[in-house]
């Protein structure tokens, strides 16, 4: 026993000793765990707490109300309206195909839409609502509500969407909003920062250039979410700031009226306040329905727009380029007078054509005008006289004056699509075409043909700056009624302009002329062109002094007339549409105490006097009729302020 016992004793000693070692290790390990806990929970607590919050909290941005666009008189031309939408929560739908079938019976829900939805559903979580239809009519919406028990998983939602004035007269200026695309995000840091799903963004026009201010500041909804992203409860809500509203200088009445005048024509009309530069009217015809872009344009409507030969999507007042034709003659005349290369008394004989540098240059009047002085040449738009004027003046001096008066540069800065146009000179040709200037090209430039390219808005600015006595104005289309100071400043500016018109001395206003008499002479010649017999736009004149205007027609060729065509005496109307001349007209009104400048361009509309001037006449009357209203409205606003 004793040996056995000893062995046992010995053994338990070993066991106890080893256990002691083991226990020490255990204590060390436990302290290791404690220090790890200390590290995680005490030292790194802040880091993990924020990580936990990042897990737990999810923020949803709320799309702020988009700013409204108004016309000068407060008519809303782009506003927000209630729309009826259908949302679907996929996890609540028992049978997707059955639901789609039922929906197709209730609302306009076709196969194409179904496939698109199924494709999108694959990428989404089952509790994320998906928009099935975002613009239901009231009858569809009420029908869905009636059958709501039949379509499980469907949620009718009243939401807000953009709506544009329905006549479409502002479509090109206002533009439209649509879903933010990947390209939009790529191009705009602002959109990347704001980053709200479902945000509509301005695609063109003012909607685009004022996008940033009109979007506003998004609100915030903070939710606690679970590991699968499902919202558990709302913790916090931060109201956003609605986008800024803007007032444009446009007159919706005039816009609408002008658009009806341009029905079935392709063209543009611009009307500008010659002192303030306010654009009262700017219409591009034909137009399109901007509302159709808001909810994703249908393919049919898109292809109808794309295939229309009148090109309704082009913003013609700004993006349409036309040779100015004879409408440039007042500028050529002014330039020649300012540079003293011709006097008002210079007489040139017009025989219908003239031989220069080995080519024959024709006047529009085949028989010729006979002996012409400068005033008559403007009045009757004699080409031969202006060939001679241009020859004496030279292209470079002519281009300086044309640029001064607004051609060849952007009029408004806020439109991407706005074109610069071309005011040619020797340097320009060398740089852009790589050839030196031919003298013959100077002659046709003198009648606004050749390389000359201008937008209707530029022509409007040109005539306005002539009409106000030769002072530079800065055209604008957005007026900020909501910023008080701006309104007051606007008026100061205007009043000071009016004063300067009499006083002629102010450092702020840039003079565009050298000799005031030259401007007066040109304006008087334009009076003759409209209000005296033989004048090119005589037929469109007003006899009432209140409406009396003065203007210059232009007929710009889009092709070179061949000798054969001249022999055949082809009339414009006999030509195919694409080859017909553009009809142009620029004018200012009223003649005494002028206030508005106007330009009308009708694409392939024939001659300026028959195609463009009659339209201008009606627009001028409308604008002048509303002038007192406009003035009073602004005064009222001013007094309110």
């Amino acid at each position: 026993m004793s040996i056995n016992s000893k062995i046992f004793q010995n053994k338990s000693k070993i066991i106890n000793r080893r256990m002691f070692i083991l226990s020490t290790i255990k204590v060390v390990v436990f302290f290791g765990i404690i220090s790890r806990l200390f590290y995680l929970q005490i030292s790194e607590n802040i880091k993990y707490r924020s990580l936990s919050d990042k897990n737990r909290l999810r923020e949803w941005k709320i799309i702020p109300q988009r700013g409204i666009l108004e016309d000068y008189f407060g008519t809303k031309i782009a506003e927000n309206t209630q729309v009826y939408q259908l949302h679907m929560i996929p996890e609540d739908v028992p049978n997707l195909n059955e639901l789609f079938f039922k929906l197709s019976k209730i609302i306009n829900f076709n196969e194409e839409k179904k496939n698109y939805l199924i494709k999108r559903l694959k990428k989404r979580k089952p509790w994320q609502p998906i928009i099935i239809s975002d613009n239901l009519s009231w009858s569809e919406f009420s029908k869905v509500n009636l059958f709501l028990h039949e379509v499980q998983g469907i949620k009718p939602v009243v939401s807000v969407a953009r709506q544009y004035h329905n006549d479409g007269s502002n479509s090109h200026i206002v533009g439209y909003v649509s879903d933010t695309s990947a390209k939009d995000l790529k191009n705009s840091e602002f959109l990347r920062d704001i980053n709200i799903p479902g945000l509509k963004t301005g695609k063109n026009g003012l909607e685009k250039s004022l996008n940033k201010q009109m979007i506003g500041v998004p609100g915030l909804q903070r939710f606690e979410v679970n590991a699968y992203g499902k919202r558990i409860k709302e913790l916090d809500i931060v109201k956003g700031i609605a986008g800024k509203n803007f007032r444009t200088t446009l007159d919706q009445e005039v816009q609408k009226f002008t658009l009806t005048l341009l029905k079935d024509k392709s063209g543009a009309v611009c009307v500008m306040d010659i002192y303030t530069g306010d654009i009262v009217c700017m219409v591009s015809s034909p137009t399109y329905d901007a509302n159709k872009f808001v909810h994703g344009i249908s393919r049919d409507y898109w292809s109808s727009l794309i295939n229309d030969k009148f090109k309704p999507l082009i913003n013609k007042p700004m993006a349409g380029l036309y040779p100015p034709g004879s409408t440039i003659k007042p500028i050529v005349a002014l330039s020649a007078l300012e540079n003293d290369v011709v006097s008002t008394k210079l007489v040139v004989e017009c025989r219908g054509s003239v031989e220069r540098y080995g080519h024959t240059y024709h006047c529009w009047k085949e028989k010729g005008h006979g002996f012409m002085n400068l005033r008559n040449a403007i009045k009757q738009s004699c080409d031969i006289y202006f060939y001679e004027t241009a020859r004496r003046l030279g292209i470079d001096r002519m281009s300086i004056t044309a640029k001064n008066f607004g051609l060849g540069k952007k009029v408004l800065s806020s439109f991407n699509e706005e074109q610069i146009g071309v005011v040619p000179n020797t340097k320009w040709k060398l740089e852009n075409i790589g050839k030196s200037w031919y003298l013959g090209e100077t002659l046709i430039s003198g009648i606004g043909q050749g390389y000359f390219q201008s937008t209707p808005l530029q022509l409007c600015l040109m005539i306005s700056q002539l009409a106000n006595g030769g002072y530079e104005i800065k055209p604008r289309i957005v007026d900020d009624k909501y910023a008080l100071q701006a309104t007051i400043d606007t008026w100061r500016e205007e009043f000071s302009l009016r004063k300067i018109d009499i006083n002629l001395t102010s450092p702020n206003i840039k003079k565009l002329y050298r000799n005031k008499e030259n401007i007066k002479f040109v304006l008087d010649a334009l009076y003759g062109a409209t209000n005296e017999p033989m004048g090119t736009s005589y037929k469109s004149r007003f006899s009432k002094e209140k409406y009396m205007f003065a203007g210059k027609t232009g007929t710009s060729q889009v092709r070179t007339i061949t000798e054969e065509e001249r022999r055949l005496k082809l009339k414009n109307i006999d030509l195919p549409y694409e080859k017909r001349d553009h009809a142009l007209f620029t004018a200012f009104a009223p003649y005494k105490n002028p206030r508005y400048g106007i330009s009308v361009v009708i694409e392939h509309g024939g001659s300026g006097s028959s195609g463009a001037a009659p339209i201008a006449r009606k627009v001028i009357k409308k604008v002048l009729d509303r002038h007192q209203l406009r003035k009073k409205y602004q005064l009222d606003l001013f007094q309110e302020a």
């Binding site: 026993m1 062995i7 046992f8 010995n10 053994k11 338990s12 070993i14 066991i15 106890n16 080893r18 256990m19 083991l22 226990s23 255990k26 390990v29 436990f30 290791g32 765990i33 404690i34 790890r36 806990l37 200390f38 995680l40 929970q41 005490i42 790194e44 607590n45 880091k47 993990y48 707490r49 990580l51 936990s52 919050d53 897990n55 737990r56 606690e224 979410v225 679970n226 590991a227 699968y228 558990i232």
Partner: protein, 374 residues
């Protein structure tokens, strides 16, 4: 000898009852209560399935614990080989009739319970080795002939468990077995040699690992390499523990678990939930309870006269320690995720049963502390 015999034969139930270690019982009850509260929290404050069955299990297995305490240590000594072989049979049974869940076959249906024999093996291996080494004199322990059986005793169940596959449990069984062998007095040099061999065999073992197991090791080394995939569990677990801070987020307010960010929160990650809600202070408290339990078990071992009792108590205390340590180190990101439950806290019948059986035997050792086993 005479007194021993006297003591051995004259213990009444009352004597036995007063011989119980009430502190240990109290600690186990406290732990049970904490585990129920934690389980209640995993169900977001609802008395649902998990909490209910955890409660029933704890109640039944606690009774088993007490019941087993009154079984004489000699009976346990005699039954130890049989117990071991029954578990081996169950492991074989798993191989043939096992229930497969999430890719591994671990459970066997015993009609009244779905048992995980690999968990029970953790205890039965200890008792097997304790009995085996009881007789062997310490001078001969290092003899090669006495090493064959223990090695097979470990190797056979482990090979079954690895085959399930359940690498975590297999590793824990191996470590448990090695603890007992080491306690029995095997020379340190064998451990050094074998660890050198294991290190050399590492590349071969890695080649045999299943892809998900390799992934776990890679994830352990750098959890951020795949934060939404393999590293998700450990990252979320660390966030939960770390965000708990000093005093925790409050009971039933652990956002990580409440919002389902925490994986396996009923089972392996229950400590994470506890730590998130009760913070550093609570965690230390829980850890102290575990430490005290281990201490009490060790103390019973020290007080026991027989080597069998000593070996079992020490072995079980070490096993208990290693379960706690591995689980905590795992959820705290100190070890790869191997899937080992936290004793008593984690949901899971077999694990709790295994622990309760072990505690029962320990308590039996306590009651017959002065008994000699021959």
């Amino acid at each position: 000898m005479q007194t021993e015999y006297f003591q051995k034969n004259n213990k009444t139930i009352i004597d036995k009852f007063f011989a119980l270690d009430f502190i240990l019982i109290f600690l186990v009850l406290i732990l049970g209560a904490i585990s129920l509260f934690a389980m209640y929290s995993t169900e977001k404050g609802n008395f649902n399935y998990y909490t209910q069955s955890h409660l029933y299990r704890f109640f039944i297995f606690f009774l088993i614990f007490i019941l087993f305490s009154f079984v004489k240590i000699q009976v346990w000594f005699k039954l130890s080989y049989i117990f071991y072989f029954i578990v081996i049979l169950l492991l074989i049974g798993v191989d043939f009739f096992g229930i497969t869940s999430s890719g591994s076959k671990r459970w066997v249906n015993l009609f009244f319970i779905n048992l995980q024999p690999s968990e029970i093996m953790k205890v039965s291996l200890i008792i097997f080795l304790a009995r085996y080494y009881n007789k062997i004199p310490s001078a001969e322990v290092n003899h090669i002939k006495f090493m064959i059986i223990p090695i097979f005793a470990i190797f056979i169940p482990v090979s079954f468990v690895v085959n399930q596959p359940d690498l975590g449990t297999a590793l824990l069984i191996v470590i448990t077995g090695l603890f007992v062998i080491w306690l029995a007095g095997i020379s340190m040099k064998y451990f050094i040699f074998s660890s050198i061999i294991v290190t050399c065999l590492m590349p071969v073992v890695i080649a045999f690992l299943k892809p998900y197991q390799k992934l776990r090791i890679l994830t352990f080394l750098n959890p951020e390499r795949d934060p939404l995939g393999a590293g998700y569990q450990i990252i979320q677990s660390k966030i939960a523990v770390g965000s708990g801070g000093l005093t925790g987020k409050g009971y039933l307010k652990g956002s990580q678990s409440y919002l389902d960010y925490l994986p396996e929160k009923h089972t392996d990650f229950i400590f994470t939930l506890f730590s998130e809600e009760f913070g550093f202070v609570g965690s230390i408290l829980l850890l102290s309870i575990y430490a005290l339990i281990i201490y009490r078990i060790t103390k019973i071992g020290t007080q026991s006269r027989s080597n069998f009792s000593k070996l079992f108590c020490y072995g079980f205390a070490s096993a208990f320690f290693i379960f706690v340590a591995v689980n905590m180190m795992m959820v705290l990101g100190l070890l790869p995720i191997v899937g080992s439950p936290l004793p008593i806290m984690s949901y899971g019948g077999s694990s709790m049963l295994s622990i309760m059986i072990g505690l029962g035997i320990v308590m039996s050792c306590k009651i017959s502390a002065n008994d000699e086993i021959s």
